[in-house]
Amino acid sequence: MELVVVTAGTSDPSSTRMLADRTAQKVAELAGQRGGEVRVRVIDLRELATEVTTALISPMVGPKLEKAIAALREADGVIAATPVFKAGASGLFTSFFQVLENDLLIAKPIVLAATAGTARHGLVVDDQMRSLFGYLRSMVAPTSLFAAPEDWSDPALNKRIERAALELLLLMESDFASKVEWRSYNHEDSNDFAIDLDSDLMRLAAGGS
């Protein structure tokens, strides 16, 4: 199975990337124990920053962004991680998901993760990020991850990582994303180009009323 990590961490290595990587490793490890195999690919949004802003203001989708979209399209599961800036997810993180086609992530299992300089940002993940993925109709795992500086020395973080990883793996194994009636969602993925010749508009196009 394919697992894609999307991280908007800024430094190298960043704590955001670290949190995402540890979660991804845990997913792979648990899958191994259950006789499965998970391949991890990382999309580091830092490298896509200019292409993401270009896509926000023009119809151009750059080659790196195109590759990232293709990786997400094929992903069986996603870990989406961002630092918190000014009481919200990084603008780069939000912009990236805003330029994706609305239906790219329909029903995909996702673990949300954020890091911050203070525990006061703790609700950003469940209060703000969840609604974005709700709009994208993704399958967000019940446990989301948040790490303030003090969490890195608290074994409870590892427990939460393990819990989130198992939830993600189970959702991936269930194959939920491909079992839902994808066609029944309002969708616009131009790569799919599924056309319903029986729609009212298609009948109107063919001279009907």
């Binding site: 270009t54 023009s58 119809p59 989708v61 508009l201 001279g207």
Partner: protein, 385 residues
């Protein structure tokens, strides 16, 4: 195969000189560009339609009729005519008039328009844009083919016994292209009526348009107008040409960087990589344009965007010289040599008259004496019941 230029009609500040042309200057310049297109041997000039600054082209048929009057061979066309915010009755009348005055040297391209505020200025709603476009065209198609139309739809008042005048030249409706960048319904409508399909092709990677054009070709065949290869396809392109490619890049970059739509966004190199834009020598433009046929199959019309983003008239005329003298003659030869014999010819009025009448004389409708309305009696024309 027809080659031409199409203009958006933007009035953009020249980022090099700092000069913003007046509306008067830009309108005169566009007329000159169209005339020059004929002088250098191109076949088509097309103008967009916009109803807001910084564009001037709110009245395309007025402009095109003037251009047709001052040229001899050039086909005048649109890119696009708004099938949403224009009343299809007015489109039928205005473009039939243009067809008469240009002696058939015209066609037009339908487009929806994506500027939301424009719709309410004309009593429409962009949220209904697609059904509005489809319904309006269904009506337009009949207005040019039936002397008397009874009609009822969702978006405009019903018509009882309406005759659109003048009837099309030789009673052969203007050829119609349907322009679309992502809407299969528009491709379906083009296919259903056996009309042309035009892919603007400028901003998106080719794969995007290949799907739409393939769908149009399949449906063209499905609806019985011919084979997939016989479907009628037009493509947009964009070029800036200089004899040496480093000069082209140097000269065009400031215009690219500040161009409306994509300026301040992608680099020119990235944009060239993933869109049809070529900035380079005549040979580079030729090479890139020849790849279009490989992707989309034999096609009937190639349009180039060359006059936007504040490029001064002198530069545009120079571009036309290079396009007409060095690029298009080679493209004509190369494309002709590669052309599948089954592929359709480019649409012209003469060919359409021939297709309809063979060697017979075309119908020339003559009205009966004024009856005060269109409803009483039979046909308003002498030659039909």
């Amino acid at each position: 195969m027809q080659f031409g230029v199409f203009s958006v009609s933007d009035i953009t500040r020249d980022p090099v000189s700092g000069h913003t042309p007046s509306e008067a200057e830009r309108i005169d310049a566009v007329v000159r560009i169209a005339q020059k297109a004929e002088e250098v041997g191109l076949d088509v000039f097309a103008i967009g339609e916009h109803h807001n600054p910084p564009f001037f082209s709110s009245s395309p048929t007025t402009l095109l009729s003037h251009i047709a009057a001052t040229t001899e061979r050039l086909i005048v066309s649109t890119a696009t005519t708004l099938i949403t915010t224009n009343d299809p009755v007015r489109i039928a009348e205005e473009y039939a008039m243009l067809q008469h005055l240009s002696k058939g040297r015209m066609d037009l391209m339908m487009g929806r328009g994506n500027t939301a505020p424009v719709y309410p200025w004309f009593g429409q709603d962009i949220r209904q844009g697609l059904p509005l476009a489809l319904e309006n065209y269904n009506l337009l198609h009949r207005l040019w083919r039936e002397d008397v139309v009874d009609w009822e739809g969702r978006f405009r008042t019903a018509l009882q016994g309406f005759t659109s005048t003048p009837r099309p030249l030789d009673d052969v409706p203007p050829f119609v292209w349907h322009g679309s960048i992502r809407t299969p319904e528009i491709a379906e409508q083009a296919a259903f009526y056996g009309d042309g399909f035009f892919a603007n092709h400028i901003f998106w990677p080719k794969e995007h348009f290949m799907r739409l054009i393939n769908f149009y070709r399949q449906r063209y065949a499905h609806h019985g107008h011919g084979t997939e290869k016989q479907a009628i396809v037009g493509l947009g392109g964009q070029a800036y040409i200089a004899r040496r490619s480093q000069d082209a890049i140097k000269e065009f970059r400031p215009y690219f960087n500040e161009a409306p739509v994509y300026g301040h966004g992608p680099s020119m190199e990235d944009f060239m990589e993933s869109t049809p834009l070529t900035v380079g020598s005549p040979q580079e433009v030729i090479d890139k344009t020849l790849t279009f046929r490989e992707h989309f199959g034999d096609y009937q019309r190639q349009m180039f965007l060359i006059d936007h983003a504040g490029l001064p008239l002198k530069t545009v005329l120079n571009q036309l010289d290079l396009l007409g003298e060095e690029v298009v003659p080679v493209l004509r030869k190369e494309l002709e040599a590669r052309r599948d014999p089954e592929a359709a010819e480019a649409p012209t009025h003469a060919a359409r008259v021939k297709a309809k009448y063979g060697d017979q004389a075309p119908r020339q409708p003559r009205p009966n004496a004024n009856r005060g309305d269109n409803v009483t009696g039979g046909s308003p024309y002498q030659d039909s019941q």
